[in-house]
Symmetry: C2
Subunit: 204 residues, 2 copies
């Protein structure tokens, strides 16, 4: 089974979606470790409940971002992790992690990128007045929310939506999308054509 | 019946979608005039076939953009047009048209704005590697493809899509979307909240 590492900062609902997909047989992988940069993050309890090793690596314990990043990379490499999944991880990924896991770090973002990168994507979407938004799973590179897109799902935006109600509707799609995207990246034979993520057998 | 004017530059497939929606009773409006800035545009034949008045107002006959724009605005105002629909109209709309038809000019664009404004939106989407794109109907203001969004529809982007195959899939949605958006704008009671287009009864 390919080993996956998951990085969290909070309650880890997308971590739970990955745990559930593995339990259901929808995702052929093993979560080797869940790392939180925040002590006591709710997602750590979810991991322990599923029998997954947990680590807290607090960015406050490191004097530079690179030192923090290197500590995470070392912990993941030691455990022979093949793919790293960010699941509500609220720190930027730095060069040591990108060097240790080239095109092997995934993030999920609550908009149809390239629209509304950065924080508060759902509030940005509401303020802009879009009628369709969604969720994006992408490979992490040096640009904020800018890496090659693995999978996207759209959701309708209603006139009476708030950032909160839209967030909930997008989150439902996130929980479906993330395990599917992890499957696609763990599959053999995908390639990047320019910045396009293309599967070995073009099935859409 | 509220009167609509349609501006075209080419074959006018979205004009045809509006003509068909009126014929089917899906759109309660009358197209009072179709104006082309290009003599011999294919859409003029479609208009004549439907018994609609046609005009050619060539931008080449005017020394400034404002003069051209004023000529179009005059022709539309004379015919008591309430709403202007751009349907493959390849000139920028200037201030005289915006002044004559405030929040009463619609455009359709082959992407999920704010992603991929400007020309070759479908090729931009392919190059960026998005997995979801679509079509947007928006009110025209002074910004390129930047006005308040009335309606959007998403389409899947497949690994083997080209700009051409994606364009065809988006065009299908455009033909469904544009008449529906015209209905919504002709309905009483919608309002702009910031840049959000909100219907009187929030039904999504």
């Amino acid at each position: 089974m390919p080993k996956v590492g998951v990085l969290i900062s909070g309650r880890g609902s997308n971590l739970q979606a990955l745990i559930d997909a593995i339990a259901d047989g929808r995702l052929a992988a093993r979560i080797a470790v869940v790392i939180s940069n925040k002590p006591g993050a709710g997602g750590l309890d979810r991991a322990r409940a599923a029998g997954i090793e947990t680590l807290t690596i607090s960015h406050r314990d490191y004097s530079t971002r690179d030192a923090f990043d290197t500590a995470m990379a070392s912990a993941l490499v030691e455990r022979r992790v093949r793919l790293v999944c960010l699941a509500g991880f609220m720190r930027l990924i730095g060069q040591p992690m990108l060097d240790a896991f080239p095109n092997a770090i995934l993030n999920i973002h609550p908009s149809l990128l390239p629209a509304f990168p950065g924080t508060d994507a759902q509030a940005q979407a509401i303020a802009h007045g879009v009628k369709v938004s969604g969720a994006t799973v992408h490979l992490v590179n040096g640009e904020l929310d800018g890496g090659p897109i693995v999978l996207q799902a759209s959701v309708e935006v209603c006139d009476d939506d708030t950032a909160e109600s839209l967030s909930l509707r997008i989150l439902e799609q996130e929980h479906r999308l993330y395990p599917e995207a992890v499957c696609r990246v763990l599959e053999a034979g995908w390639r990047l054509v320019g910045r396009r993520f293309v599967r070995s057998v073009a099935t859409g």
